[in-house]
Amino acid sequence: MYQSFISYRGGRWFWISLVLCIGAIGVYAWHDLPQPPGGGTWLGYTLGTIGALLILWLTYLGRRKRNYASKLGTVQGWTSAHVYLGSSLIVIATLHAGFQFGWNVHTLAYVLMLLVIFSGFFGVWAYLRYPEMLSDNTGGKTRGDLYREVAEIDKQIMRQVAQLGSDMETAVASALDRTVVGGGVIAQLTARDDSQVMMPGQGLVANVRQKPILDLVVEQLSQTSHREQASYLREASNLLGARGRLLDRIRRDVQIQGLLRIWLYFHVPLAFACVAALIVHVFAVFVYW
């Protein structure tokens, strides 16, 4: 019932792109000209025109996506076409260049285009792979739900440790307080845990995955002979464990959502750079050739 953009309408755009590529390769192999293959032949011009129009059209997806009342196909159809026709550019543009590369603006345009395409490949892979992981990780809850659960557990933990003397209370409170989720780009994408805790006698130390504070509570638990205190400590350690697992899930959520988006920060600016280089390339060709 549900179809991804890859299998949209039985992979209609895959077949269209395949025909386009095979056609281009066929004509390239068949045609026999006095001059070496390249942008200057009739085939070169034809393929170049097709490629340039394709690049402009591919860039236009950003506009179509925001044209919410548009009757012109669905965004899913456009995305499907974007992926397959975009991939076919590798063949079209390479044949257009006739395998002539050098240290010039023409090859720059070509390289930028490849970078856009390969960042797009990552995007396709991410879009196919991550949504399910995202949903599995949070079990259908939103990140807000998870944060609310953490806040609830925090309250319960503080109620337990309030009975355990000020040293323990301060340490646990600092651990809750100095819990860090996310941070910079790297921290988000690697799900790094920069949490800290103010340990009695040690000052501020790292509290990765809440382990040091949990160790402290467990340590206390093993030493206490007071029954009531033991029950508070046991409850606190259980809650801290649950809290740690919850935080792991939130970090994972941040990480996957980051991976789902990060490629766009390359794909889109590179696409604009590619269009700019393309304009220079076309201009240069017509003025200086």
């Binding site: 549900y2 953009f5 925001r66 009342a69 548009s70 899913q76 456009w78 789902l260």
Partner: protein
């Protein structure tokens, strides 16, 4: 006050004020009695600054008291001013607790003590009801209140909240932020509360934010100095009496329904239905001569109607027979008809010609006609087509229509008959196409108006139900048998009502009847390893239980209502009669059985798909006609669906992608599912919520922003929103930075919220105006968003 008054007006709402002011300007001895300290209690309780609308716009105002749309404050001020200007004799804090006597000689008891004599009584007390009191000694103490306007008004006080409903919980939670709060619950749990409130109060009690006394009642309230507090409350807890010194007691014990009070005055209601209206004459007089009923209590919820009635009633009491304010409206409505008759004559003719309306009281009928339309379709013109989602009710005043009920069944129906009752009663699509005959004059009555009539007039309900059963049996089982022959079978059929989750029949039971689902829907489940696994979903209009009946055996599955459901059941004897009358029925039923069996095989023994179907039903999709489902395995969370919704609907999204439950990657976001029998349409004062022939439930511009639909929707898909200003075009945004860009919203401070701005209800209209269809689905880049109808559920479930 001493001496006899000509007119006593009870209740100072818009109707009461208008009546009293008119009596005052005519110099008639009168009194306006108000239970609370201020007039118009219901409107006083509107939120601050709420915009009050003056629907229906076409109806002229006839009252010495001004009324035009504006803020609640402006409206109330104008009335306040008018009360003074006309020197209305108004008495506040005068709750009428009893009325005895008869016309010319009524005795009104005020606050259980003082007596007042009046010749006529006008009741304009609305339907809100009076808050239920504590009912213990000292419950009139000044520190007890029955309402809480602004919880932030109180700080550092000790407050006891009495009650276990949503109002009590919400008040207690809000007060607990800055006060020491106790909540008193008569029972040992909060059984009546909404789920969200239940969770919140339980957590708050566990967290020590407030303290709860369970299984506790209030013994008495003492006034005096208790630890520097104005009083104390004495509670009877399971472990003995507890005395608490308090600053404030807030009792939220619900309201005493007005009906009981009104009945104690001698006014009769036609039946037990809570929505039934008292029977009134064309002059708004009740069965108690000299006692008149106006406004919401009489079934007229709009302010302007009530005010006009107040004016008219005073005229009637004085013996003047003026034409009602709506007279010109009816005149205009009837002008299209080929009769040279006066309005009243046309109304009489209609009641004479149409038997179903003949026993309706003329006032109710007049109101019905105000809401109805007169149609004069050309011969052959389609009145409605099969599978349309419209649900109005038609009566034939003149000429005839042809009902194409089946491929070989065309029924001609003539003057005085009605049609369209199937969709009216079931909320389902039209089951037949109806074409106009020659010289056809039809009365088209909206569903809401008709339902009001059905609930108030038993005779109408009975006729409609009987006809519904008869026509359904003919259409579904015996198209070739004339209606007359089916009458005994229809008589033997029963209408059954089921609550959500209730069992229609159980696996293993003796199969003794067949159920035709009239409204709602059911799941068919089989048990495997002592677990009930749903295997099929059956929507209204279809039947269940035929398998056992044909084989005359035991039930092979359990059938359960998914939502509030009504079925028509035929027992096996009756059904065999039917089979004899209509031999071809056996064939068609066998086909149906075959299909059902195939469907069962597809889902058989697959617990996962059964769980999925259960999940969908738990989300209330059993009553959906079209629902947005998101496949989480494809959704990248780009929010383009939500943005597309906002962008195509004046800047406010009607869809909340993040909210809603998920099961096996299928996510039911908070978005309208266009219910078969929409809850939102039930209580819309201006009747602004409509269903298009395609099934889309949408809100028209005459919404008055009352919020009833928001409250009535069990799925939380309607909300109230200000209309943001129009966005600039994409190029002016791109080049000149004008306004928010595509997909961006206006900031809160940029949306006008002045006194002239009104929050309106907004909901999904399935992009009725967009040629391409729902924008949410079309904007999804990955194909994660789909709109499905329940018929697709089996496919969805079996492909996952």
């Amino acid at each position: 006050m001493s001496g006899k008054i000509k007119i006593a007006v009870v209740g100072s709402g818009p109707g009461g004020i208008s009546a009293a002011a008119h009596a005052a300007e005519l110099g008639v001895p009168h009194v306006l009695l108000e239970a609370t300290a201020k007039h118009s209690d219901t409107i006083q309780k509107y939120q601050k600054g709420k915009h009050v609308m003056a629907e229906p716009n076409v109806l002229p105002l006839r009252s010495p008291v001004p009324f035009e749309q504006g803020s609640r404050e402006a409206v109330l001020d104008a009335w306040e001013h008018s009360l003074g200007q006309h020197s209305v004799n108004v008495r506040y804090q005068a709750r009428v607790t009893a009325i005895e006597g008869s016309k010319g000689n009524f005795t009104l008891t005020i606050n259980d003590g003082e007596k007042l004599e009046a010749e006529h009584v006008i009741l304009g007390i609305g339907v809100q009801g009076n808050p239920r009191k504590l009912g213990v000694d000292g419950d009139d103490a000044t520190f007890i209140q029955y309402q809480l306007d602004d919880p932030d008004e109180f700080r550092n006080e000790t407050i006891v909240v009495v009650g276990a409903g949503d109002a009590a919980i919400e008040n207690a939670l809000a007060l607990a932020r800055h006060n020491r709060v106790y909540i008193v619950n008569r029972r040992d749990e909060f059984a009546r509360a909404k789920e969200g409130n239940l969770g919140a109060i339980t957590a708050a009690i566990a967290g020590g934010d407030l303290q709860c006394f369970y299984s506790t009642n209030v013994v008495r309230v003492d006034t005096g100095d208790f630890d520097d507090k104005p009083g104390q409350i004495v509670l009877g807890t399971p472990s003995g009496e507890v005395q608490l010194a308090v600053d404030r007691v807030i009792a939220r014990l619900g309201a005493v329904p007005q009906r009981k009070l009104v009945e104690s005055f001698g006014v009769e209601f036609p039946n037990e239905d809570p929505s039934a209206l008292p029977v009134l004459t064309t002059k708004y007089e009740s069965n108690v001569a000299g006692m008149y009923i106006i406004g919401a209590l009489g079934g007229y919820p709009l302010i302007k109607q009530a005010m006009n009635q107040g004016y008219e009633v005073v005229e009637y009491i004085l013996g003047n027979s003026i034409k009602p304010a709506d007279h010109p409206l009816l005149e205009q409505k009837f002008a299209v008809m080929p009769y040279a008759l006066e309005v009243d004559e046309v109304l009489e003719l209609m009641q004479e010609r149409v038997p179903i309306f003949s026993r309706v009281n003329p006032l109710v009928f007049r109101e019905l006609m105000l809401d109805s339309n007169i149609l004069m379709p050309e011969p052959g013109e389609v009145v409605f087509a099969k599978n349309d989602y419209t649900n109005t009710f038609f009566t034939i005043l003149d000429g005839s229509v042809e009902i194409e009920a089946g491929p070989d069944l065309t029924i001609k129906s003539g003057q005085g008959n009605f049609f369209g009752e199937m969709s009216l009663l079931s909320g389902r699509r039209r089951s037949a196409t109806v074409r106009a005959g020659t010289f056809c004059v039809l009365i088209e009555t909206p569903r809401r108006t008709m339902n009001k009539l059905v609930n108030s007039v038993d005779a109408v309900k009975r006729v409609l139900d009987e006809t519904f059963i008869l026509r359904t049996i003919q259409q579904r089982f015996a198209p070739s048998v004339p209606l007359e022959d089916l009458r005994p079978i229809a008589k033997a059929a029963k209408i059954n009502h089921y609550k959500p989750g209730e069992v229609v029949f159980q696996e293993g039971d003796r199969a003794d009847s067949l159920h035709l689902i009239r409204s709602g829907s059911v799941t068919v489940a089989k048990s495997f390893d002592s677990r009930e696994i749903p295997m099929a979903y059956v929507a209204a209009g279809n039947y269940v239980g035929e398998m056992g009946l044909l084989g005359n055996s035991d039930r092979s599955a359990t059938v359960r209502a998914t939502v509030k459901t009504e079925t028509i059941s035929l027992d096996s004897g009756t059904f065999l009669d039917l089979l004899q009358k209509s031999p071809e029925l056996l064939e068609s039923m066998r086909d149906e059985v075959k299909q059902r069996t195939q469907q069962n095989v597809r889902l058989q023994a697959d617990a996962a798909s059964g769980d999925m179907l259960s999940f969908l039903m738990q989300q209330g999709l059993g009553e959906a006609t079209d629902v947005l489902l998101i496949d989480k395995a494809l959704c990248v969370g780009c929010d383009n669906c939500e943005v597309a919704c906002a962008e195509t609907h004046g800047g406010t999204s009607r869809l909340n992608r993040k909210a809603g439950a998920v099961f096996a990657h299928i996510h039911v976001p908070t978005s309208c599912r266009h219910c078969e029998d929409p809850h939102c349409m039930k209580d819309c004062p201006p009747d602004a919520i409509k269903r298009s022939p395609g099934g889309e439930v949408f809100i028209q511009d005459n919404c008055i922003g009352c919020g009833n639909c928001e409250e009535n929707c069990p799925y939380g898909v309607i909300h109230m929103a200000y209309k943001p200003p129009k966005k600039p075009g994409i190029w002016s945004w791109l080049l000149f930075g004008a306004g928010p860009g595509p997909g961006q919203a206006y900031g809160k401070e940029e949306v006008p919220q002045g006194p002239d701005e009104q929050k309106m209800a907004v909901k999904c209209d399935m992009c009725l105006d967009l040629a391409g269809g729902p924008a949410c689905v079309r904007a999804c880049p990955t194909g994660a968003a789909l709109r499905l109808s329940p018929e697709d559920f089996v496919d969805l479930v079996s492909t996952r």
